[in-house]
Amino acid sequence: MNDITAQEYAFIVTAVIGSISAVAVVTARNVVHAALYLVVTLASVGVTFLLLGAEFLGWVQILIYVGAIVILFLFGLMLTKAPIGRDTLDNQQKWLGALVGLGVFAGLVFLIQDAFPVQDAVADAGMQTTTEMVGEAIFSRYVLPFEAVSFLLLAALIGAIVLSRKDEGN
């Protein structure tokens, strides 16, 4: 018995939107459009998180990605005077790329279907995870990687500055 729940409806809609925009991201003629499609995709992913009951992650997704990362991209695009126009956006091997992409998709879908058949998948209520739970986990068992990541971010920050800044010498 599989009755489609409300969340599932919502998810399917989100997923469809997200998927379409995802494809759009990698096919758009215009870089800025691509960036905007990316926003939509990421947002839909965030919504998916919420639907899956991962509130904290959902908001983080929306805030960090939509709020920060995409902005970074836009800056990048501007700084590099990204050209507008189809022919220059794709390289000569896009058909090959398409082929590979489809291959990957097909393969994955097959594997997934093989592992978790849709028909006998049950849709039970996922648990509501609260921010505390996440936080607790991070600061007990995952504190070490947490620190490590902070160093990674620090390094990225410093390095990015070093590399991207114009220095007088050269």
Binding site: G107, F116, S140, R141, L144, V149, A155, I158, G169
Partner: protein, 493 residues
């Protein structure tokens, strides 16, 4: 769930982290001329870390629910990384100073990478392995592009970055699936347990995800067909960085791979052994054959490094149900990694010195080196001979040990792998002797002495002595490798 943390276990990492911050801060306050102080500072920090690590020798510790372990395996690698760090720092000093780089930042990034290396062999958890890997790579991307003015360097960075991130993504996808099929496990031992119970579709999905995960590390160790970035990056990056990538970062990759394969996925060996047969043979063959064509020493070393990676991958392909022979293979791999590190660092040290006169460091630029810089020439010859696996050098034992593992494994597979390796070794001799040939038999185009930084000379001498020592007394060395084998294998888990 919240439990007390064993701070002694993570002391080395803490000290290193402290050093990193210190370097960063100090750099901000150092006057331009004094920027290079960052190096001695880092050196001190690293040595402190070394000491701290030594204090851990002997007993096994584990913390964070056994997801962070300090055992012989971890310690061996940590000490190796720290030694490598010392050497890379030594190589960097002049190079970075005279190359007009951002010194403080450079050392900062370098140390962060090494922090990642330090974490790698202790991580018994997918997440931590992932983080450690990124921690090694991230700064690596940046350092590869560190010769800002040079387009080649930029390219090196970009290629390294793209391939790196890409393979990371694939790996992550694999990890996520594993997380799923194992019912939410990320600890390696738990995963092993969980995987044991799988069958049918979930199993095949697990297989696929194991493959994805392997990809991530295969990239790191530049195994065929994920090796493309290596030559380009080594060529473009600053030489010390290339040295770091070729030795430390590669070793870190292997450290991770060893843990994954021999702990988490050991149960599935009949699935992934064929993969490693393919990876190993493919890698060594491609590396050797393409190396024959190289004209630049760094690229030569890159391909030789690929070939060597192939040899190191061979023990993975030898895994069977027999714990004893697995243990032999395991220790062979470790031994090879360590020796490989010594000879490669030595070689890169020489290149660093030569590149001061010949930035591109073509093989031809080494002509008559034994007139202009005898020590380097002798050293380089030694390293090449060792890489070729010819006595009287440590490289000889390295090969013998792998060989022995293959034979002990027995069966057609063992024999054929041994033969494959043998054939490859023979082929490799040719190109390894291209360089000594230039250095010893050709005349330099100008016969003035090459000024060699003291530290570089020291490194070269050290490496030579080490290789000779290992050749003469491989016993203790082999013991170290044996000790580093996981308890789980040693007792036959």
């Amino acid at each position: 769930m919240p439990q007390s943390i064993d701070y002694h276990a993570i002391l080395p990492e803490l000290i290193l982290a402290g050093t990193i911050l210190l370097v960063l801060i100090a750099d901000a306050f150092l006057p331009a001329r004094r920027r290079w102080f960052a190096m001695p500072l880092s050196l001190v920090g690293v040595i402190a870390t070394l000491v701290a690590t030594l204090t851990l020798l002997g007993d096994d510790r584990s913390t964070f629910d056994g997801h962070f372990v300090v055992d012989n395996f971890a310690l061996t690698f940590k000490l190796f990384f720290l030694a490598a760090a010392v050497i890379v720092l030594a190589l960097s000093l002049r190079y970075i100073r005279e190359g007009g780089f951002y010194q403080g930042e450079f050392y900062f990034l370098l140390l962060v990478s090494f922090l990642g290396c330090m974490l790698m062999p202790s991580s018994r958890d997918l997440l931590m392995l992932f983080i450690a890997l990124e921690l090694v790579s991230g700064p690596g991307f940046l350092m590869a592009a560190f010769r800002k003015a040079d387009v080649r360097s930029n390219e090196a960075g970009l290629k390294f970055f793209l391939i790196g991130v890409l393979s990371a993504a694939v790996m992550l996808f694999g990890m996520s699936l594993i997380y799923g099929v194992t019912g939410g496990e990320t600890g390696l031992n738990e995963i092993a347990a969980a995987l044991a119970g799988l069958e049918g579709g979930e199993l095949s999905l697990a297989y696929a995800s194991i493959l994805f995960v392997v990809v991530g590390f295969a990239f790191k160790v530049s195994a065929f067909p994920f090796q493309f970035w290596a030559p380009d990056t080594y060529e473009g990056a600053p030489v010390p960085v290339a040295a770091f990538l070729a030795v430390a970062s590669k070793a870190a990759g292997f450290a991770g791979l060893l843990q994954l394969m021999f702990v988490a996925f050991i149960g599935q060996h009949e699935f992934w052994v064929p993969i490693f047969v393919f990876l190993s043979v493919g890698t060594m063959t491609l590396g050797n054959l393409v190396a024959l064509q190289q004209t630049q020493v760094v690229r030569l070393l890159a391909y030789s490094g690929i070939a060597q990676a192939g040899y190191i991958l061979l023990p993975f392909a030898l895994v069977t149900d027999d714990a004893a022979s697995n243990a032999i293979a395991f220790s062979a791999a470790i031994a090879y990694i360590l020796i490989y590190g010594i000879m490669n660092l030595g070689a890169f040290a020489v290149v660093t010195a030569v590149s001061r006169r010949h930035p591109r460091a073509n093989i031809l630029d080494f002509a008559g080196l034994w007139r202009t810089a005898p020590v380097l020439a002798v050293g380089m010859t030694m390293f090449m001979v060792s890489l070729a696996g010819v006595p009287p050098t440590g490289g000889f034992w390295a090969k013998i040990l792998i060989f022995r593992a293959a034979i002990e494994r027995g069966g057609d597979l063992g024999i054929w792998l041994a033969v494959a390796m043998l054939v490859n070794s023979v082929v490799s001799i040719y190109y390894y002797f291209l360089v000594p040939r230039q250095m010893l038999f050709k005349d330099p185009e100008r016969d003035e002495r090459l000024r060699v930084p003291v530290l570089v000379t020291a490194v070269v001498g050290l490496a030579m002595v080490a290789l000779l020592a290992i050749f003469v007394l491989p016993g203790p060395f082999a013991d170290v490798a044996d000790l580093s084998v996981f308890r789980s294998l040693a007792v036959g888990g």
